[in-house]
């Protein structure tokens, strides 16, 4: 369970984006957040992730107070983030294999080894197969040489490899074809059901939202409110 309590956030131009925002996201669900452009959906994800500090208020993950925990500590403990721009979630100058190697290093000791972790690579192959990506062909290619859609799918795989308990998705389908969106939806649902994790996704893609989401929320100037699930 993720709980926001009395979150206030004022932008640098003086605009009050969140005013005493309080809300609870139930654990083990796939939450979809929708809302108009500029209402603060990505900023809200940033606050939850720790990429952005709220002016005041509290954030709870389960019973733990986490608003003072830095982003990299949250990701170490429970969090995974898929960014809207794949360049934020991967290193474009490194190869796909090296990026996966980095993802596999979470919570591991450093080493001078240049070998890929076989278990991580096998899991990456399973995700890639489900997403219709030929990973064997891509492993030695720099991320920069991939299309935006391929980069986003690799970035998703990298995050899933870390098995986050809370997965934040910021417009993950922006660069994807409709068929890739369908495949990604299946992978995310399977992951969430297998791990029992919580997903919070910001998206404008209504088809994706309806297929992925188990609960819907709308963010507007009054705050967050629950929405009926469309069939």
């Amino acid at each position: 369970m993720l709980r926001l309590e009395q979150i206030n956030l004022c932008l640098s131009n003086g605009e009050q984006l969140f005013n005493c925002l309080s809300y609870t996201f139930a654990g083990g669900q796939r939450h979809i957040i929708s809302g108009h452009n500029g209402v603060g959906k990505s900023t809200l994800l940033g606050v939850i992730a720790g990429l952005r500090n709220a002016d005041d208020g509290a954030l709870y993950w389960g019973q733990s107070v986490v608003h003072a925990v830095p982003f990299y500590e949250r990701t170490k403990q429970f969090l995974g983030v898929v960014f809207q721009r794949p360049a934020q979630g991967c290193v474009l100058v490194l190869t796909v294999g090296q990026n996966l190697q980095l993802a596999g290093m979470k919570n591991k000791q450093f080493s001078f080894s240049i070998e890929h972790d076989a278990a991580i690579l096998a899991q990456a192959h399973r995700y890639a197969e489900a997403l219709n990506l030929n990973l064997a062909d891509l492993l030695d290619r720099p991320m920069a040489h991939l299309s935006g859609g391929q980069q986003q799918l690799i970035a998703c795989i990298m995050v899933l490899l870390t098995k986050p308990k809370l997965l934040l998705l910021d417009e993950p389908t922006a660069a994807l074809s409709p068929s890739a969106v369908g495949l990604l939806t299946q992978v995310l649902i399977q992951y969430q059901e297998a791990e029992g994790s919580t997903i919070i996704c910001v998206t404008h893609d209504t088809t994706f939202a309806q297929q992925l989401g188990t609960t819907m929320h709308e963010l507007d100037s009054q705050g967050l409110r629950s929405m009926p699930l469309c069939s």
Partner: protein, 274 residues
């Protein structure tokens, strides 16, 4: 015709410049911080050798001690940048300014080191010593950059958010890379003092420009960490040697280096466009 003596100078000074070029690659291309401390660390490495001689301390420790001293200076710059939020160029400038006084206090503005001691301290010729150190440093850095630690350093330079999203603090990797780079620069400075047999507070002037030139020349051939970096460093010494051998006025040395860089970079960009 280049004499054997000149050839020895090319190899020795080219090798020393090659070490600083490797250091500049780590800061500029791996963690993407233009670190001016490298110049100060080079001088500190030289100064340390001079200080050891003046204090009659065992010279055998000079190379490892200079590496760790440089590493310490790199950590200082890293902390200024990452912890206090000071701009990276300013952090390097502050640290180098600080080092200027530290070096003066350590050995004075000019320290002549007994010629009978230094150049003959090692039992094998200086060019071989420099080449040996260069090969070792190149091998270690090449292995490091392929390892998980090296990948994290690259990622910290290009996508710090990504590093954080996998539970790591990019500041740690940047500081570690600055420590390694400055350690290498100080090691090069120590070798320079062994080679020349003297220490001057201004002996480091131009070393960073030379290293960046080597980096640029090497990058024209291969943007990644490769032996072209060392070729770039060596090319500058060859130009200098050719100028000397041809009887030209050495004042044209830097102008010819600039022309070489312009020709190489312009040629490469023309090739890329076509």
């Amino acid at each position: 015709m280049i004499s054997i003596v000149v050839l020895r100078e090319i190899v020795t000074q080219g090798g020393i410049l090659g070490l600083v070029t490797i250091a500049a690659f780590i800061t500029s291309r791996v963690i993407r911080i233009d670190d001016l401390t490298l110049e100060g660390s080079f001088s500190a490495g030289s100064g340390l050798v001079a200080a050891l001689v003046h204090a009659s301390l065992p010279l055998v420790a000079a190379l490892p001690v200079s590496f760790f001293f440089g590493g310490f200076l790199g950590v200082g710059t890293g902390l200024l940048h990452e912890r206090l939020g000071i701009n990276n160029v300013l952090s390097g400038l502050c640290m180098t300014a600080l080092l200027f006084s530290v070096n003066l206090a350590m050995v004075g503005a000019y320290a002549s080191i007994p010629a009978a001691i230094l150049p003959h301290f090692f039992k094998i010729p200086m060019p071989l010593i420099v080449l040996l150190v260069l090969v070792m440093v190149y091998g270690v850095v090449a292995t490091l950059l392929k390892s998980s630690l090296g990948l994290c350093m690259v990622a910290s330079g290009y996508s710090p958010t990504m590093v954080q999203s996998f539970g790591r603090n990019p500041a740690f990797f940047k500081i570690a890379a600055l420590a390694i780079a400055n350690g290498i620069a100080a090691l090069a400075g120590a070798l320079f003092a062994f080679h020349t047999g003297f220490y001057s507070i201004t002996g480091n002037v131009g070393i960073l420009i030379g290293a960046l030139s080597g980096l640029l020349i090497g990058s024209v051939m291969n943007a990644r960490f490769s032996v072209w970096l060392l070729v770039g460093a060596l090319a500058q010494q060859v130009i200098f040697a050719v100028i000397i051998s041809a009887g030209l006025n050495p004042v044209w040395n830097t102008a010819l280096k600039a022309v070489l860089i312009i020709v190489l970079v312009a040629g490469f960009q023309t090739k890329e466009r076509n």
